[in-house]
Amino acid sequence: MQANFRKNYYGYLFIAPFIIGFLIFGLYPVYDTVYLSFTDTTIMSPNSAQWVGLKNFERLFADDFFMRAVRNTWLIWLLNFIPQIGVALLVSVWFTSTRLKIKGVGVWRTLFYMPNLLMPASVAALFFALFSFYGPINQFMVKSGFLPEAMHYLQNTTVTRGLVVFIQWWMWFGQTVIIVMAGMTAISTSLYEAAMVDGASAWQMFSRITMPLLKPILIYIFVTSLVGGMQMFDIPYMLTDGRGSPAYSIMTNNILMYSKFSSSKGHIGAASSVGVLVFIMTTVIALGIFYFLRDRDSQ
């Protein structure tokens, strides 16, 4: 017993590299970002930086660009998240249905997931090429008569935004299917059998058994997707000119942060304040979701 107790302190040795790595590469940069957000530091003159208090934040709230970036990011995220979770639920119900007995579930799932692994930078460049003026989409649309003549898709704000939404959906719904399915197969089949005996309809089984038991998984998907969505960068950056064109319709939080960072003087103080503010916003919403969806019965 005594020996075992002493051995337990070896745990600290095992986690020590992580802690050291985290202090150096994780915690300090977070501290530095928060600190920078209260200063007017630029890359060009890092030593003459002044403490400016909340000025960076005041400027952001007064800045139409910031509000626009926040709106864009939310809009693009929500519009891809809703069909993503919707299609994933639908497909997962079918895949796990003992009545439909869908064949090759593993193969379907594997193929649906593939876009998720592709390099986002390349995916955006690919869609740029596909939707370019002389690209395959125009050829198809004109030849099949859907459009009278070729159009500049990426100069149209609605189409461009829709395209970012689509790409995000395309890359992520397969992953959501896998996670939702894992959650559904963990639900005991005896619950469904009992419901069948009681004459429950498919919809009743879904809404009264599947959905409530799936809640923790759905919260997990929601929160991870929200945190990821608020950081969206590669796709909107690479799809057009890197500034959110046309008309800043796909300028996201991170694109705005990057453009402050890469501006001629390199306003890293102002860029930090974008990061900090978006973090606060994301955290408040995520905690709110936890609070509202928490299991009230178990309390």
Binding site: K7, Y10, P29, T33, I102, M114, L126, P136
Partner: protein, 284 residues
């Protein structure tokens, strides 16, 4: 008179038909952009401009020559990305396993809060640290240096989270005790007994960290400035730029080169990847 059972099967078959139809439609949507990319990589620019095709042509080598002639050394980016991804993967797998093993096996004071903290860290967005990270690395003179991309892998919260989920499902205390009786050191038990047994989990974790590092654009884009240190996603940005403006065949080929390794990777290891995603999320 209609047999109610027949009616039931009929309805099921009818539904099944629409389910398969829907699945095929999503499958086509999932695959077609990638297929068009691969096909167009083998077609000449005039062919591409003439119309759609779903089967490869014969201009792969011509496209390759054009791709190379414009001064973009994609293979350099390929090599750089491979090096960074491999180094990141080795560090992530080893240190995540080490940390997770420490949490799973030893009951030290503060273990619970430490693990909860790691779970919170998984969700910490990059925005909150990247600018400070850049600022701090530039003070250390480590911008434009691969160390700034590779070393943070020592403290990968997501890696530890995954490794902990995996180890919890397979750690055998008896084996550890047997090792102790044989006089192995604690770290020796981890290296000689646990790591070999946990190899499948380590491998899955390795796949995820390799793909994540391979595809990572933002960090490298912020930190790396020298052309000869560009990673593959950064070169995609060049490919997307003015130099290649009208060379569609070469552009498609360049993009295909960035994507094909991952597609091959996936064809070989999809089983690990799919089960890994399910494991990372569902806690029983």
């Amino acid at each position: 008179m209609l047999n109610p059972l027949n009616n039931y099967t009929l309805k099921t078959n009818f539904q099944r038909f629409f389910v398969y139809l829907f699945l095929v439609v999503i499958l086509v949507i999932s695959i077609i952009p990638i297929w068009l990319l691969l096909v167009n990589a083998t077609r000449s620019t005039p062919e591409i401009q003439q119309g759609l095709a779903f089967f490869p042509s014969t201009h792969l080598m011509d496209n390759y020559r054009i791709l190379r002639s414009k001064g973009l050394n994609l293979w350099l980016g390929f090599g750089n990305s491979t090096f960074i991804s491999l180094a990141t993967t080795v560090l992530t797998v080893y240190f995540s396993m080490l940390t997770a093993y420490g949490i799973a096996v030893y009951d030290f004071p503060g273990k619970k809060p430490f693990y909860n903290f790691i779970v919170v860290l998984v969700l910490l967005p990059l925005q909150l640290s990247i600018i400070g990270f850049y600022h701090y690395m530039s003070k250390l003179g480590l911008t434009d240096n691969y160390a700034s991309l590779i070393l943070p892998a020592i403290a990968s919260a997501a890696g530890v989270f995954f490794a902990k989920q995996y180890l919890d499902s397979m750690i055998i205390k008896d084996l550890i005790d047997a090792g102790r009786i044989d006089g192995a050191s604690e770290i020796g038990i981890f290296h000689k007994i646990m790591l070999p047994i946990a190899a499948p989990g380590a491998f899955t974790l390795g796949i995820f960290s390799f793909v994540a590092s391979w595809n990572n654009f933002f960090n490298a884009f912020i930190l790396i400035t020298s052309l000869d240190k560009y990673t593959l996603p950064m070169m995609v940005k060049t490919l997307r730029g003015d130099v290649y403006r009208t060379e569609y065949g070469a552009i498609y080929l360049g993009l295909a080169i960035t994507i094909i390794p991952i597609v091959i990777f996936y064809a070989l290891f999809s089983r690990y990847i799919i089960s890994g995603i399910a494991m990372g999320s569902v806690k029983e």
